[in-house]
């Protein structure tokens, strides 16, 4: 640990992570600042895989905030809390990251993505998806449990909270093709015109599917939330599964997605 993993932006990073956002506008603000800082991490700069994820996450959170302002959710206090809780886990992982083998408190699934920040380079879409994987498959169920616990409601299918939660799927579906097009270079346009629709559809399904799994996992965790040993075991289990999936996304195989 002779040198910080964040290199020249070390100080800015640690200053930024001193703040703990407590509402959705503050989360958007934090992600925006993070985007700028991440874009200056050498050697890949704005091409680094975490940058790709952060950008997607920022876009999504901005859409959530827009919908909150527009009164589109039935239980905004639930969704606001969830959004803040959810983001807190990403920021926690960043706080815990001090380099490979030096970050006992950083979830493995996040560590897998973070250690690719200096390279080797990978395609932006699988990189963003690896972040989405960590965030949804690992962080989300816990964020859901904490939110429900705090608000004193149960995670019940078909409740208004569940419907609000499902709205986020639409936001993801809308954000992902956008991200793709943002990154397309010339030859990929060609591929995109050939199978773009199919590709988008597949992406949308994947998000839908994993988010549904997160909801189910949250319900499972809800039942055991008072049992620390059982929750810990489940956490390690989820971390393992998610990090295996993450590895796949960041492997050469993942480039198929691009």
């Amino acid at each position: 640990m002779t040198e910080s993993v964040w290199g020249p932006v070390k100080q800015e990073m640690s200053d930024l992570l001193q703040t703990y956002p407590d509402d959705v506008p503050a989360v958007v603000d934090q992600l925006t600042k993070l985007q700028d800082i991440l874009g200056r991490v050498p050697p890949l700069l704005a091409e680094n895989p975490l940058c790709d994820f952060n950008k997607l996450y920022l876009t999504i959170t901005e859409s959530v905030l827009e919908r909150l302002y527009a009164g589109r959710f039935a239980d905004p206090s639930f969704l606001s809390r969830l959004d803040v809780e959810f983001a807190a886990r990403y920021f926690d992982a960043l706080r815990a990251w001090a380099g490979p083998d030096a970050s006992p408190r950083c979830p493995r699934v996040w560590a897998g993505l973070f250690q690719r920040i200096p390279g080797p380079d990978c395609r932006p879409l699988p990189a963003a998806c690896a972040g989405v994987n960590a965030h949804i498959n690992f962080d989300l169920p816990f964020a859901l449990v904490t939110t429900f616990d705090h608000l004193g409601t149960d995670p019940i299918d078909d409740s208004i909270q569940h419907h609000d939660y499902l709205q986020i799927n639409e936001i993801f579906a809308a954000a992902i093709p956008g991200l793709r097009r943002g990154y397309l270079d010339r030859w990929q346009v060609l591929i995109d015109t050939m199978n773009g629709r199919l590709d988008d559809w597949w992406q949308g399904e994947a998000i839908d599917y994993t988010r549904n799994v997160a909801w189910r996992n949250a319900q499972k965790l809800w039942g055991m939330r008072h049992d620390m040993t059982a929750t810990d075991k489940e956490r390690a289990h989820l971390d393992r599964i998610a990090s295996d999936l993450g590895k796949l996304l960041l492997s050469p195989l993942g480039e198929f997605l691009q």
Binding site: R105, I156, M228, R235
Partner: protein, 937 residues
């Protein structure tokens, strides 16, 4: 965690942290409390830090109480705090049965106060991650200042626990925003600190590469560093890298009896008493003492006055993995037997051992006893877990299962585990010995309604009403409850019908409780359906019935409903306040219904605020706070009182109450977030902190439900006002914020058409204010929208917003230089209202406006700026603003009655203020008080 005093290694690398923690703990906030939470991984030295701090602060004259939370999964409620108290009061068990959760918390606070005496109190809690829910709530209650104790809390939390969905994670996230709370993350030692510690233990002659190896192996964890350094010192060559192997090799070196002692302590619940240990190990006294000595010498076990502990949890965890299942079971059996022999009353602990001993049948009685005693302490979460455990211990055909299921469902319902409650009920209904169909529907409906699943709850009530086995009593109860539910859903016509149905039969078949409930539902639905008189008559009748029954619950509910109806939809605030106070007095005379008294006084306080009698409101809220409410009741009172402070301009008190609210809300509760944010914005505006005000409102906008029109109205008004004030102060307005606020105003305007008349009147008032603020943001200087707003609030008989609108109206007119005479009149009216209420920041704003336009506010007096609140330090600083005003009048030689007339408060309230003034100034006569005043002035 248990490394005990006496044989600690030197403390390395923590000097600064220690000093900071101590200073943070001393630095209590305005609420009189401070807290430091130390987080870090196991073995990083949290307990050590706690111990060192406790010692230092004890030496400095603090009264120190320490407790440790247990990891047995099912500790009894409030365990660590009661454990701490028992150090002073061994007979703590013999508490009078407290009547309600409020009373229990109050009781604990009183005991803590008694222990503290004249000293400041430091409460040290180790292993807080294992704290039960009751303990967490008590902690928040104390930190919010509700216990009335000056208190510092120092607690340790394992960092590992905060990763998943542990409830403390959220609590700490909220608390760390407060000025009086600090979360200290204890990091492992770095390379140099590790070397320092190694040298301190093993002597100076250590090779650098050895020290380096220790650093690599231990990762800087001080506990492991110390152990490895000792090996180094003793010339032991460590072959293994893992903590586990290091310790196992040492266990092997123990003499057999000491070996048994270590394993026995590891299986016990710490601290393990000597007599219990003797029974568990079966060793003769002399042999036992020798074995313990060996275990202590080998640094496994620590001994203290209350028993034995392992030196560190990490050791227990290593040993746990080594013991065979059968061995462990036999140890637990011996513990259980030993406890039964000694007749210990700790059901939770006994249950734990029997269960681990693999003897479910013998565990059952203790589990049930533990559940019942948890319920006595209002620990429904813990009780629910015991009932569930009891169910796990019994088979389907056990005859007691039906009762256990019923208890499990009911306790789940009480602790907010709605889905669990429903699941238990579902299981219960499948059984051949289940209660009747109607009964089941009623219960299910009750649970569903509590879970907020109104539509399904409604169906269940209807099914209950249609059940063939529905008795007349059940019919009344179902209809009354359904009416109440429909009322909450805003379906007034349906609620009216159901309430009528219930009342028709209630006279013959209903309990007073159902009668009161049905009357209330009828009263409210009538009021909302624009036939208030009929509704009022019904509720008044219900009050009479309750008076005749004399039961505190009936009285409480009846008075509550009548007062709410009057102050709410009927807007007869004065009368509502009278009713609320009469009800509170009535219950106080009965010596019962403390929660109802608190709620009634809260209604009175809120009503008095609205009609502008702020000093009186202050007195009422203070009386309510003396009931020491907890939970949602406390939050509501604090919010009401804070609104007064904001109005009075007492920034410090307002901040204190806002912090207290935030502390309580860290434990959960979404309903009160919006009022808190609104107050935060209001306070920030008077302080000229527009950025803060705007941020609070914007956050509020992301949490507002679109159907809460009134809350939305207050929030939008605050938001637009903040933008307007920012513009007036020469700052840029935020076009995004304005656009969003306009959207909200549009939404309100659309929604208001469907609202019930009483709601519409209030929302219209806020819409007027919003539109007027919008014209101010656009710098139109148009007095007309403000005039409309003033008229609307006059009609609502609420002087504060009306006077505010008058000020703005005058300001607009004076800027335009039109209708000056009317403007001056409006300004003077506003000023009279503001001073009568004691609204200092508002009055100051009027004065500065008057100055700006060179308007005299009164013919015979020079207008002068009222000084900022709390600015003076003249020996009268202990007094509240209101008390100063009263004292000034006392010094003029006025009687209480005359003072009351001048300040628009009752003679009695003046008396209360005078009493407070005497206490605070430590004088006994009016003359003495006047002298203090005149000297200071």
């Amino acid at each position: 965690m248990a490394s005990e005093e006496g044989d600690d290694g030197p403390l390395v690398g923590r000097t600064d942290t220690l000093a900071e923690i101590e200073s943070d703990l001393r630095n209590v906030g305005p609420g009189g409390t401070a807290a430091v939470f130390v987080t870090g991984e196991s073995g990083v030295g949290k307990s050590r830090l706690l111990r060192e701090t406790a010692r230092a602060m004890g030496d400095a004259g603090y009264s120190v109480l320490s407790g440790t939370c247990l990891d047995i999964g099912d500790a009894s409620p409030l365990h660590p705090v009661l454990q701490a108290l028992r150090q002073y009061q061994p007979d703590l068990q013999q508490w009078d049965q407290p009547t309600g959760a409020d009373a229990l918390l109050d009781r604990v606070s009183r005991d803590l106060r008694a222990v503290a005496g004249e000293k400041d109190l430091l409460l040290v809690l180790d292993d807080l991650q294992w704290a039960d829910r009751s303990t967490r709530q008590l902690l928040l209650y104390l930190l919010a200042g509700l216990g009335g104790i000056r208190l510092s809390v120092l607690a340790a939390v394992r960092a590992e626990a905060l990763h998943g969905a542990h409830p403390l994670r959220r609590v700490l996230a909220e608390l760390r925003r407060l000025r009086s709370v600090r979360v200290v993350d204890l990091a492992p030692l770095d390379r140099d600190q590790t070397s320092e510690l190694v040298s301190a233990i093993a002597g100076e002659g250590i090779e650098p590469e050895d020290a380096d190896r220790v650093y690599k192996r231990s990762g800087g964890n001080p506990f492991v560093v110390e152990e490895l350094a000792r090996d180094l010192r003793d010339g032991r060559v460590e072959l293994s890298d893992t903590l586990r192997e290091i310790f196992l090799s040492r266990v092997d070196e123990l003499p057999p009896a000491a070996h048994a002692v270590v394993h026995a302590v590891a299986a016990g619940v710490e601290p393990v008493e000597h007599t219990v240990l003797a029974r568990v190990t079966g060793l003769a006294e002399a042999e036992l003492i020798e074995a313990i000595r060996a275990a202590v010498a080998h640094r496994f076990v620590a001994s203290s006055a209350d028993g034995y502990r392992l030196r560190h949890r990490l050791v227990a965890e290593v040993l746990e993995a080594e013991v065979l299942e059968a061995e462990a079971a036999s140890l637990h059996r011996r513990y259980a037997e030993a406890m039964e022999v000694s007749g210990a009353a700790d059901h939770a602990r006994l249950a734990h051992h029997w269960q681990r001993a693999g003897e479910p049948a013998r565990a059952l009685p203790s589990v049930v006893a533990a559940a019942r005693s948890a319920e006595k302490l209002y620990g429904f979460t813990e009780a629910h877990r015991y009932w569930s455990l009891a169910l796990d211990l019994t088979t389907d055909d056990a005859p007691e299962r039906i009762e256990l299921l019923a208890h499990a469902a009911e306790s789940a319902h009480h602790c907010g585990e709605h889905q669990r409650a429903l699941d238990r009920l579902a299981e219960l209904s499948q059984r051949p010995d289940a209660p009747g169909e109607c009964e089941l529907h009623l219960r299910r409906a009750r649970y569903l309604a509590a879970a907020g699943r109104s539509a399904t709850a409604e169906v269940e009530y209807e099914l209950a009403l249609r059940s063939p086995d529905c008795t007349p009593q059940q019919r009344v109860s179902a209809a009354a409850n359904l009416a109440e539910l429909l009322l909450h859903l805003g379906r007034y016509a349906d609620a009216y019908a159901r309430a009528t149905e219930a009342l028709d039969q209630a006279a013959v078949n209903g309990s007073t409780r159902d009668l009161v409930r049905a009357s209330a539902a009828l009263g409210f639905s009538s009021a909302f359906r624009e036939d208030p008189d009929a509704g009022l008559a019904v509720i008044r009748h219900a009050v009479e019935i309750a008076e005749r029954s004399g039961h505190p619950d009936d009285l409480g509910v009846a008075y509550l409903h009548l007062a709410e109806l009057l102050t709410g939809p009927l807007n007869s605030v004065e009368e509502g306040v009278l009713v609320a106070r009469r009800g509170a007095d009535r219950l106080a005379a009965l010596g019962a219904g403390r929660t109802y008294q608190t709620r009634l006084l809260a209604i009175a306080g809120n009503g008095l605020f609205r009609v502008g009698q702020w000093a009186e409101a202050d007195a009422v809220l203070e009386a309510a706070m003396r009931h020491r409410p907890s939970g949602a009741d406390a939050v509501e009172l604090l919010l009401a009182r804070c609104r007064l402070w904001v109005g009075f301009g007492d920034v410090e008190a307002a901040q204190r109450d806002l912090d207290a609210v935030a502390t309580l809300l860290a434990g959960g509760g979404a309903r009160h977030v919006l009022p808190m944010l609104t107050l935060r914005a209001g306070l920030a505006m008077w302080q000229g902190r527009h950025a803060q005000a705007r941020a609070a409102v914007q956050r509020g906008l992301t949490e507002t439900r679109s159907d809460d029109l009134v809350l939305l109205g207050v929030l939008a008004w605050h938001g637009l006002r903040a933008e307007a004030e920012a513009r007036a102060a020469g700052e840029a307005v935020d076009p995004g914020a304005i656009r969003r606020l306009k959207t909200v105003v549009d939404r309100m305007a659309q929604g208001v058409g469907n609202a019930a008349t009483p709601v519409r009147a209030v929302v219209d008032g806020y819409l007027d204010l919003c539109n007027a603020e919008l014209s101010r943001v656009e710098e139109k200087h148009d007095p007309d929208p403000w005039q409309r707003a003033a008229t609307a609030w006059d009609r609502r008989k609420q002087p504060y917003p009306a006077a505010y609108a008058r000020l703005r109206r005058a300001e607009a007119a004076l800027t335009r230089k039109s209708r000056k005479a009317a403007a001056v009149l409006a300004l003077r009216e506003a000023y009279a209202t503001a001073t009568a209420m004691g609204a200092r920041p508002f009055a100051a704003e009027i004065v500065s406006t008057a100055h700006r336009f060179r308007v005299a506010l009164a013919d015979d007096v020079d207008t002068q700026e009222l000084g900022g609140p709390g600015a003076e330090d003249d020996g009268l600083a202990v007094l509240t603003q209101r008390e100063r005003e009263v004292l000034a009048a006392v010094a003029e030689g006025l009687t209480n009655r005359e003072i009351g007339e001048r300040l628009y408060i009752s003679e009695r309230t003046v008396g209360v203020h005078v009493g407070h003034i005497f206490d605070k100034l430590q004088v006994r006569t009016r003359v003495q008080a006047s002298r203090v005043y005149l000297t200071a002035a």
